[in-house]
């Protein structure tokens, strides 16, 4: 039965259109393409907002509450980072790749893998290690979207910062996340982490 249906469908596709003009199909297809693509991208961008992230209590009560106390939330110039600024690549292909990985987070939400504070704390090291690995692999791309090395004024930094930035960071031996862990959220138990 399925074979027949598929065969029918294939034969319909292969035949020239009987009832619709070529113009209708081309223009209609074009418009439908805009609608579908626009809809897809709008939905994608909708899932790329802080409101979406903190619409689940796991993020609202844990990660977001911790972010609120840091300089990436409130500071003298009023420029702040939202969740996707650091956790989703800005480049489209990388973003899609990350979004596909994030389907695992939908699974987590449905089955409540971190739906209590205790579960979240127990999973924190694992969650953090994923983010450290991701930022290490892309040379802290999400940091560098705002913090450009080329425009850092070492004369405005304190001596300790200059020492690190002008040597290890400048030579590419280290990247931002190697030292700046736990800047927006609390750290897990750091036993065995390099540099702790």
């Amino acid at each position: 039965m399925w074979k027949n249906i598929l065969l029918n469908f294939w034969q319909t596709l292969r035949r020239p259109s009987l009832h619709y003009s070529l113009g209708f199909l081309v223009v209609g297809g074009f418009i439908a393409g805009i609608v579908f693509w626009g809809g897809f991208n709008t939905t994608l961008e909708l899932t790329n907002t802080e409101e979406f992230c903190i619409s689940c209590h796991e993020m609202r009560d844990n990660s977001y509450e911790e972010l609120k106390t840091t300089v990436h939330f409130s500071n003298k110039s009023g420029v702040r980072a939202t969740c996707p600024d650091c956790h989703v690549p800005h480049n489209w292909t990388d973003k899609i790749a990350r979004k596909m990985q994030a389907s695992k987070e939908v699974w987590g939400t449905i089955f409540g893998t971190i739906d209590t504070r205790e579960k979240f704390l127990a999973a924190r090291r694992n969650l953090a290690e994923h983010e450290w690995a991701r930022l290490k692999a892309n040379d802290s791309l999400e940091c560098r979207n705002c913090h450009h090395f080329d425009y850092m004024d070492f004369t405005l930094q304190n001596t300790r910062a200059v020492e690190q930035h002008s040597t290890s960071l400048a030579s590419g031996e280290k990247t931002c996340i190697d030292c700046h862990k736990g800047i927006a959220h609390e750290l897990p138990d750091m036993q065995g982490v390099d540099g702790w």
């Binding site: 106390t69 736990g182 609390e186 897990p188 138990d189 750091m190």
Partner: protein
Amino acid sequence: MKNLIMVSISLSLLILSFTLTAQAEEIATLRDGTAISEQKKPNFIPKIVNTDILHARNYPMQPPLIPHKIRNYQINLEVNKCLSCHSRSRTEDSQAPMVSVTHFMDRDGNFLAEVSPRRYFCNQCHIPQADIKPLVGNTFKDMHTLMKEKIRDMKVH
């Protein structure tokens, strides 16, 4: 007799009210004279001295001041941000001063392998210096200055 009682009561009330107002003024000194029933307009939060240059200790046992900012430094069961530079194993990389060996002692004077739990919470004793004028005057002289003065006085006499 009745008059005497009245006079003594009013006198004591007067004295009481004097002492109360005096006390109220005393309390108000650090509040810039704001009435006790009112909320004082908060002062500016001062900047933290962030020069990385060690401050002299005012007396030998003073816990050294932290010469840098420590905003959002996490010190809890999970992690101690201070020790990520100041612990024994980290000082070679960080070139930060190592925690004093006294911090490895428990309260019976036995040396432990790690920083003693009672010394774990650094900012219980160590604090950064805010860039402010002192609120009240201070005539404290450390032992060194006192000894120098004493020797000088002995030479004079």
